[in-house]
């Protein structure tokens, strides 16, 4: 039992060493970035020329040039965030797959959340109304049904009585 925390500690230390050795998607300066390294960043960017196609999947010359820039910047040792900031500086916020959380862009994040929460609140109230309306309606229906059956029984009994009276006279 005592050995287990030691084992966990060793495992955590190994993980930390590994993380320190391979820091995310940054490529060591001077090394040649692979296509995967380039595409990892490219898929988070959109070229304004070919709308709705992420940069990693776009085949136009403009997009090829952009991927070339990503490769060059990675080669120079730039981080993912630095490269994305460079593209935003050059071509504007719209190149980002996810708009930055600032200014009017907040609308993109807040409106869907508001609609979702509003929908849940609406559904909650609607279900509550249905639940209270249903027993009332069913009890009202029950009373009506009972009254109907009582009326029909009364009618039947009076007819039987009348028939009996006729026969006794006869």
């Amino acid at each position: 039992m005592i050995k287990q925390p030691k084992r966990i500690l060793t495992l955590l230390t190994s993980v930390l060493i590994l993380v320190a050795l391979f820091p995310g998607s940054a490529v060591a300066q001077g090394s040649d970035p692979t296509d995967d390294d380039v595409n990892a960043i490219a898929k988070q960017l959109y070229c304004p020329v070919c709308e709705n196609i992420p940069l990693d999947a776009c085949g136009t010359t403009a997009c090829e040039q952009w991927r070339g820039i990503i490769r060059d910047k990675l080669r120079e040792g730039w981080t993912e965030d630095q490269i994305k900031a460079y593209f935003v500086d050059q071509y504007g916020d719209r190149v980002l797959a996810e708009p930055p959380r600032s200014g009017f862009n907040w609308v993109v994040y807040i409106v869907p959340l508001l609609v979702f929460v509003g929908g849940i609140i609406l559904l909650y109230f609607a279900f509550q109304r249905w639940r209270t309306a249903e027993p009332e309606e069913s009890s009202r229906k029950g009373v009506k049904r009972a009254a109907d059956s009582r009326n029909s029984t009364d009618e039947y009994i009076s007819r039987v009585e009348e028939e009996l009276r006729k026969r006794s006279k006869g």
């Binding site: 020329v49 136009t60 403009a62 040039q65 952009w66 050059q90 504007g92 409106v111 609609v115």
Partner: protein
């Protein structure tokens, strides 16, 4: 209170959608409209502000090195620039749209373009002119009013001169 909140939310949502729709449906800037002011920092480092050139005819050409249909007019634009250069009252400005600098500079070198050219940083200028693609050229008169919008390339040098000459 509940109803006010719900309707308020619906109205807000519709306003946002309407605003987005109006923006996306806005057509191109056209003839007779005042050209939007902009600042262009050229590849060689000088800054050009459109409003500083009132009194001159300004030719604003949007292009990109990856744009094949920009190439046929590149030499004609440079020839027109050279033709009007001695007068000093016609300015040509090249706005490089969504491009990469090494390729853009190679393009300018290939077509020996000497008039000022610079990148459209954050695509601010192209958005202000609401361009739909490249090449597109706006010819602006001495009062800052757009007098000609060329969608696609000019066919020849004469084509360009025939639009600018009557303005001088």
């Amino acid at each position: 209170m509940k109803k006010i909140l719900i309707w308020g939310g619906v109205v807000l949502l519709l306003l946002i959608l309407g605003f987005g729709l109006i923006q996306s449906q806005q057509g191109q800037i056209g003839r007779g409209e005042l050209a939007p002011d902009f600042e262009l920092k050229s590849f060689s480092g000088e800054t050009y502000r459109l409003s500083d050139f009132r009194g001159s005819v300004v030719v604003v050409n949007f292009w990109a090195s990856w744009c094949d249909s920009c190439k046929p007019e590149a030499k004609d634009l440079e020839a027109a620039h050279k033709y009007y250069q001695p007068r000093g009252d016609v300015l040509f400005l090249g706005v490089d749209y969504v491009d990469t600098e090494p390729e853009a500079l190679a393009y300018l070198d290939e077509f020996q373009i000497t008039y000022p050219n610079g990148p459209d940083l954050r695509t601010k200028i192209s958005q202000a002119f609401r361009i739909r693609g490249v090449p597109e050229t706006f010819i602006i008169d001495q009062n800052g009013v757009i007098v000609h919008v060329q969608i696609g390339p000019f066919r020849s040098l004469e084509d360009i001169l025939s639009i600018i000459d009557p303005l001088l």
